[in-house]
Symmetry: C2
Subunit: 550 residues, 2 copies
């Protein structure tokens, strides 16, 4: 086919336009990457703009904007990637108006309902540095100094938990056969990793059997003569244990949730019975879990007693101290963790009470060779005898979060963390005391740490609460009131308290009660802030009462 003269120039100009566009794209993209002074200047401009966003965000006292979720839904409904790169200016404006503006002020002193807090100022510049360095902690070839730095930081926390001697640490801290701990993305992966190690150790290679790793769960249970496998712990165990039981093929029905007492600690007698029942049913107990700081109430199990049970049953003892682990920094409060040093594995979250950014879970092992049970290799990267941290880990490629951990331990120090922990608990006790003096509220358990469960009581029921004469219907009404209260408070956005549902209460009968849940971990939260949150609840509740409960 030959083209007419008329068509020729058209097509040619189309190509020229396309070429010009392509060149423009190339230029636009390359200026985002090139490490020239021109880029430095673009980056500085972005930095200046986003710094402003950060400052405004961090200095807002309100917990939240009161924007409707429905509005946000419709605002993020574009499923097409833009063809051309957006201009930096317009995207940053969009980002500020649509994302930053309607994010949660987790650092607000009046956002005291979840396990997020204000962070120390050094983490923000370090986040940028970490991203600039873009190390991949999976292997030494992409994270040279950082691999050793990570091992050092993990050893420091290992020592705080287990307090072994200088020789032990000299031998293991930088020995590539040893794993004192693993840095993971969060507490869930930490808990799964610990149970994975426990399972593979309990069902390891023996005689002709090559171990569960290679031959699988069914063959392993068969070889060792078990009818099934189980994990035992408090009914208040985090839902990551459900994930673990499901993922590992054990089944969530075999995640045995033992009742907790009215102080949210596992009932030791019931735990003992559960162990005996598993034995009687010929179930392998993969691990007994102690919780140090339950997610819903901060309760700390009696770890020493659980340790004893685990030891006499010869079972792996795991402590989920994702929340409560840092109590160990406090001379005043560390006794609550007594027994943790006997744990075979311990989970602690860096992004909770180590005041580090989201994405830092930690799992520690008393036996430095335990993680060998999950070791994997790959010729292109994970080599035997190397310092590749990815050899013994659930995750592969991962960022250099160790930078934050190392900085936190050094820049806050033992005494600094002690201060933060003590303050959180002191302020929680203050809030508990305040609640006890206020007829509008009922305190539901003396706080073990810095979580507080309480509820609002509508006026006409207050006397019955004091007399302990609430009926089930009364409780239902109180439940409705507290659920509405929490939702309205969240929606208005000035202050924030979360809610949970408890069934283990001291009401004779087991009925679900909806409770308000305060988490006091933000160093910026003052007694005034606590009073402001409570006063707002009283005011909002009185408005609900007028509408609904009279």
């Amino acid at each position: 086919m030959t083209l007419s003269k008329q068509e020729m120039p058209k097509k040619s100009s189309f190509f020229e336009t396309e070429q010009a566009l392509n060149y423009e794209i190339e230029e636009q993209v390359m200026q985002l990457f090139a490490s020239s002074s021109h880029v430095t200047s673009i980056e500085s401009q972005i930095d200046e703009i986003t710094n402003k966003f950060s400052q405004d965000f961090l200095s807002t006292l309100d917990a939240n904007t009161h924007i409707d979720l429905d509005y946000l839904l419709s605002n993020f409904s574009d499923s097409q990637i833009p063809v051309q790169p957006a201009s930096l200016e317009s995207y940053l404006k969009y980002l500020d108006n649509n994302i930053v503006a309607h994010s949660i002020h987790t650092s607000s002193p009046r956002f005291i309902g979840h396990m997020t807090s204000a962070l120390p100022c050094f983490v923000r510049p370090l986040a940028k540095l970490m991203t600039a360095m873009n190390q991949n902690a999976v292997k030494i070839e992409t994270a040279k100094a950082l691999s050793f730095c990570e091992r050092e930081a993990l050893a420091m926390l290992h020592r705080l938990i287990y307090n072994l001697d200088d020789n032990f640490y000299a031998q293991h801290i930088q020995n590539n056969l040893s794993t004192l701990g693993i840095l993971v993305s969060g507490g869930t992966v930490a808990n799964i990793t610990a149970l994975w190690c426990a399972r593979n150790t309990a069902l390891g290679p023996k005689d002709d059997f090559l171990g569960i790793e290679k031959e699988g769960l069914t063959a392993a249970l068969d070889f060792y003569g078990y009818k099934g496998a189980a994990i035992i712990g408090s009914e208040l165990m985090h839902f990551s244990f459900d994930k673990a039981a499901d993922l590992m093929g054990i089944g969530t029905h075999r995640l045995i949730r033992v009742p907790a007492d009215c102080n949210n600690r596992v009932d030791i007698q019931a735990l003992r019975q559960a162990v005996a029942q598993c034995r009687a049913q010929n179930l392998l107990i993969i691990a007994i879990v102690g919780v140090a700081g339950t997610t819903d109430s901060g309760g700390v199990d009696s770890l020493a007693e659980i340790a004893e049970i685990a030891q006499s049953a010869n079972v792996h003892f795991h402590v989920d101290a994702a929340w409560g682990g840092p109590l160990i920094f406090s001379q005043q409060h560390r006794h609550k963790l007594a027994g943790i040093e006997q744990a075979d594995s311990v989970t602690i979250d860096g992004h909770k009470q180590l005041y580090l950014p989201m994405g830092i879970g930690l799992v520690f092992f008393r036996d430095p060779y335990m993680a060998k049970a999950i070791e994997k290799q790959a010729s292109y990267t994970m080599r035997k005898g190397s310092f590749d941290l990815g050899k013994r880990a659930l995750e592969g490629s991962r960022p250099g979060m160790a930078l934050f951990l190392h900085a936190g331990l050094n820049l806050i120090g033992l005494k600094g963390y002690e201060f933060l922990i003590d303050e959180g608990i002191r302020k929680t006790q203050y809030m508990a005391d305040r609640i006890c003096t206020m007829p509008e509220f009922e305190l539901l358990a003396e706080p073990d740490t810095n979580l507080l469960l309480y509820r609002y009581i509508p006026e006409h029921l207050r006397e019955l609460v004091v007399k302990k004469q609430l009926t089930e219907i009364d409780n239902q009404l109180i439940n409705e009131c507290n659920e509405r209260l929490q939702k309205i408070q969240r929606q208005i956005g000035r202050t924030f308290i979360s809610r949970t549902t408890k069934t283990t209460t001291s009401f004779g009968k087991e009925i679900p009660i909806i409770v308000l849940r305060a988490v006091i971990a933000n160093p910026l939260t003052t007694e005034d802030d606590i009073n402001a949150v409570l006063n707002e609840q009283i005011q909002l509740a009185s408005e609900i009462s007028i509408e609904t409960f009279l």
Copy 2:
């Protein structure tokens, strides 16, 4: 006991000192947190200092410093957390000299051995903003706008893969019953999540059976009448599949690794046989895995053929496109992924060829209800009917990495990513062509994407290579030479190429050969850089040869 006058003042002064020290600690710690202008000024100072670190780091051409690992080992051997908070000034100096200085310049244009690259400049300021916002993507109460923003970004990539119609996206993009994708910490968790969903779907509830989630793997296989379970894919599958097979209780022996051809693509005939064998052995096939960009060589399986096999066997088809997924942006290269749109699940890594920071894995599902198979709830947070993203995820608390993904898709755009992909492959072809003209090297496979496998050949063996007359002993010698070459090059630190071991080569006999592995993904890498890397190898190898191989 009464104290003598001499002791009294001592003790009192001790307490006073302690109190003063405590007050000092309080002051030091609080100034790290308080959101006052004083803190802003401290933060600005840190920012200024760390910006300088970043700039120096990013502008270094060398891949690495030549410092010994032994030196680093001994430099990170402190297992005691400092008692007092370190001064910011001294810690930052320490950080620069000991960590930043000896980190890997993953953005160096001559670091072309791993899947890390220079990143677009906007990610660094955004990292700081993300950390300032400190959202927790696990639930809507700690990540309001970001939850919807994440869903939008995932839908955009879902559409790129599956290309379903407007109605589909309008229905699912912000529907809390639908899960188009999950943002996870990396490709490993993405792959595990996909297989977890596949397993739980294949062995779900039926009649009286409550499903594998609740009853476990052994009961599930028993109920459905299988002798065991298996996963089938190429021998070049990433080692995350070993982790998945182990963790999920299947056993790595039942991860069936089918041979790949000399172009690093799975042998389709052998795959078909493996499926038949599993059927014959009464094994449940949980998934058939196609690899789009093998980690060691970048090979892309014939996805359309695998899709057909999976479909006719009625088995879940998973595509691990952690590396190669973004080829879909390229009009020129996307045909290599043909068939990916038939996958039940697809893994793509944001921190690889989407040029985003480490810590972004993505898994997509064709069926928006598939992830229901792993859903979990918890009364304190993950509520039914909510927009809590943690309901259907392996991980719990996690950072707002969606911010980077959303920004990348908008600021680089379809055309920008196309340019980056095309350029990487173009430069890889350039390197392959160069290698073919250089007698010092042997190219080991035509590159499918932007990974290149080759090796150095000592001079006296070059003729035998051309004649294809190398003996096993010759190959051993070449192996030793390449391993030494890679280590020396890495140690000197000016340039970097990784190495891997291949067994699937065209040498008649299956012998392990050590090969050099280039990954060309850095937009800053020029043809000159590629030549510099090759020339350095020739020079270093000639020095090795003189010592060892003559």
